[in-house]
Symmetry: C2
Subunit: 314 residues, 2 copies
C-alpha cells in the first residue's frame, strides 16, 4: 500500500529534530523572468546538502530497534548515501553504502567522512539494486531504499508539507528520477499541479506515463544530473506519478548549467546539477506559469568545484 | 546622539515587510573545525544579496514624506547601492547612486537594473563622500549614508536582533569597515563578545581602537573585500566599536578565498569576499571559541563569476 498524508505528518514529527526546515527564497529577477510569484525551496541548505535526509531519517527512525541495531545499507549515487550515513550516525548504528565509481568526489568523500563503509560498483555494467540486496541479505543489514519505500516517500513529503504551510502553490516544479521526492511532494500538496523534471535522454518517467506502465532506462546514459539517473521509477512512486504529475519536462545539460549560474547570481545558492533541474525547467521548459504562485524544489547542492566552475563559465 | 536598542526595535517593525528574515545555518564540518556550535547568519540570502537593505530601507522609511519625494542619493561600492536603489523603488522615489568605476560588474549591473541613476567615480583619486554631498546639495536629494547614520545603524541592528531571537551567542564574528553592521549587531546583542573583521592592510579599525581616535586608510589600498574599503569609521560607529569590539581580526585575500570555498562546499552559499571575511576570521583568525556558541555574519553574496571561480580554484 502506498504512503498517505498521515504517513507524511508522522514523518514530520519523527524527523523534526534531525532535518532542517529549509527556507523558501524569493528573487525579483526570477519573478520577472517567468511573470509569476516564485518560491525556491532551498533543500541545498538541508542537512547533508540535499533533501534526502528527510526520507532516510524517517525510514531509519521507523525501523524496529533490534533491526536498526544490526545496521543499515543503502545504494545511492550520492545524496541518499550521505543522508543514510548521517542518519545512521545519529542513531548510532553502522552503515554500508553502495556507490557508483563515478559519483562526484564530494559525495564519496562526505559519505566516507561520516564513518560509513563504502562499496564501489560500476554503474554501466552492474546493478546497484542487486548488489545492495545481496549485501543486505548476507550481513543482516536493513536496506534503506532510495525511493520505493513508504517511509522514504513520507519523509520526502515533509518538504512539500513545509511548502504548504507557507504558501498555496499553483505549480510545483520538482526533479524526479526514482520520484520519491516528487511523489512525496505531490502527496503533501494535493491541490498543486506537479511538474516533474527529468534529464533529456533519461526520460523514463515521460515514457512510463505515456505507455501506462513503468519503463526502464538503458544503463550507461550520461547526464550532468548525477542524482537523477535511477534505472526506473518505483512500484510505489509510479501510481502517484500517474495520478498527479500533470507534466514532465526534460532538461538538457546546457539548460541545467545555465540554471546553476542563475542560482549563483540571483539566489546566492550553490546548486548541484540535479538540484538546478527544476529551476531549469521553470526558466526554459516552456510551461506557462504567468500570474501563478510557483514553488521550485532546489533539491541539493553537493557539487564538485570543477562542475560548478563549468556552470559559471556557461 | 548614537542609536539605541529602541531604534533597532523600531527599525525591525519598519522594515519587516521589506527585508527578509534570513536563516541561521549550521554545518557539522564547521562545528568540528572550530570545536564550537556555529550559526551562520546568511545575509547573502537577504533581498538584494546583502544585509544593506536593512539600513537603507529603515533610513528611507524614516524620511519625512516630502523629503523622500524629492529622491535619495547614496555613495557605495555596491551593496549599499543595490539596497538604496531597491528601497527607493519600493517607496517609488528616484535614486542617484555614486559608485566606484572598479566596483564588481554584478553590483553595477544590479543597481542599474533597479532603475537608479549611476554616477561613476575613481576610487583612488576622488572622494565619494564629497561627490555624494555635492550632488545631494545641488539636486535637493536626501543623502542615505552607508553607515554613519542613526537609522542606518538601527536598520543593520535588526540582523543582530534576529540572531538574538534564535540563540544566545557568546561570540559574534562580523565584518566591519564603516562598521554600521558591526555596531548595529553589537547594539542588538549587548551580552555577546564582538569580533570585528577587516581586511589586512586596510586596518583602520584596529589602528583607531589602539590609538583611541578615528584613523583613516590611505586611498588606493587593494583588497579582494570590495565591500570593506571605507576610508574610515563613522562618528557614530566609532564609540560603539570602542566600547564593544572585543577584538579585531585582520584577514588576507587568501584566507577570504579559502572561506568562500568553504562556504561553497559546506554551506552551499555563494559568499562575496566581504561576505566571507567573518567566516575566514573564525576559521583562521586564531580566536579560541572552543565550546562556545558562535554567530558568524555572512554579510553578502554579490560576487562576479570570475572571482568566485578564483575561490573555487584556491
Amino acid at each position: 500500500m502506498g504512503p498517505t498524508l498521515e504517513d507524511a505528518n508522522a514523518a514530520a514529527e519523527r524527523i523534526k529534530a534531525i532535518a532542517v526546515r529549509t527556507p523558501l527564497l524569493r528573487s525579483e529577477v526570477l519573478d520577472a523572468a517567468v511573470s509569476a510569484r516564485v518560491f525556491v525551496k532551498a533543500e541545498c541548505l538541508q542537512r547533508g546538502g540535499a533533501f534526502k535526509i528527510r526520507g532516510a531519517a524517517n525510514a531509519i527512525a521507523a525501523l524496529a530497534p533490534e533491526v536498526r541495531a544490526r545496521g543499515v545499507i543503502a545504494f545511492s549515487s550520492g545524496n541518499h548515501a550521505i543522508a543514510v550515513a548521517t542518519a545512521a550516525k545519529i542513531f548510532g548504528v553502522a552503515a554500508v553504502i553502495v556507490m557508483p565509481a563515478d559519483a562526484p568526489k564530494i559525495k564519496l568523500e562526505t559519505t566516507r567522512s561520516l564513518g560509513a563503509e563504502i562499496v564501489v560498483y560500476d554503474r554501466v555494467r552492474e546493478s546497484r539494486e542487486e548488489i545492495g540486496a545481496n549485501l543486505a541479505r548476507q550481513r543482516g543489514l536493513a536496506l534503506i531504499k532510495p525511493f520505493d519505500d513508504v517511509n522514504v516517500i513520507a519523509g520526502q513529503a515533509t518538504c512539500g508539507l513545509e511548502i504548504g504551510e507557507a504558501i498555496n502553490p499553483d505549480f510545483v516544479f520538482v526533479p524526479a528520477s526514482g520520484a520519491g521526492l516528487a511523489a512525496g511532494v505531490a502527496l503533501a500538496l494535493p491541490k498543486a499541479r506537479i511538474v516533474a523534471v527529468e534529464p533529456e535522454g533519461h526520460d523514463d518517467i515521460a515514457r512510463s506515463l505515456a505507455a501506462g506502465a513503468i519503463q526502464r532506462n538503458k544503463p550507461g546514459i550520461r547526464s550532468i544530473c548525477d542524482g537523477l539517473l535511477s534505472e526506473q521509477m518505483g512500484e510505489l512512486t509510479y501510481p502517484i506519478a500517474k495520478q498527479r504529475f500533470e507534466r514532465v519536462v526534460l532538461v538538457s545539460d546546457a539548460m541545467v548549467l545555465r540554471a546553476m549560474k542563475f542560482g549563483f547570481r540571483n539566489l546566492k545558492l550553490v546548486l548541484e546539477p540535479s538540484g538546478a533541474a527544476a529551476l531549469a525547467a521553470l526558466l526554459e521548459g516552456g510551461v506557462d506559469v504567468g500570474g501563478a504562485t510557483v514553488a521550485v524544489v532546489a533539491s541539493g547542492g553537493n557539487v564538485d568545484a570543477e562542475t560548478f566552475a563549468r556552470a559559471l563559465a556557461s
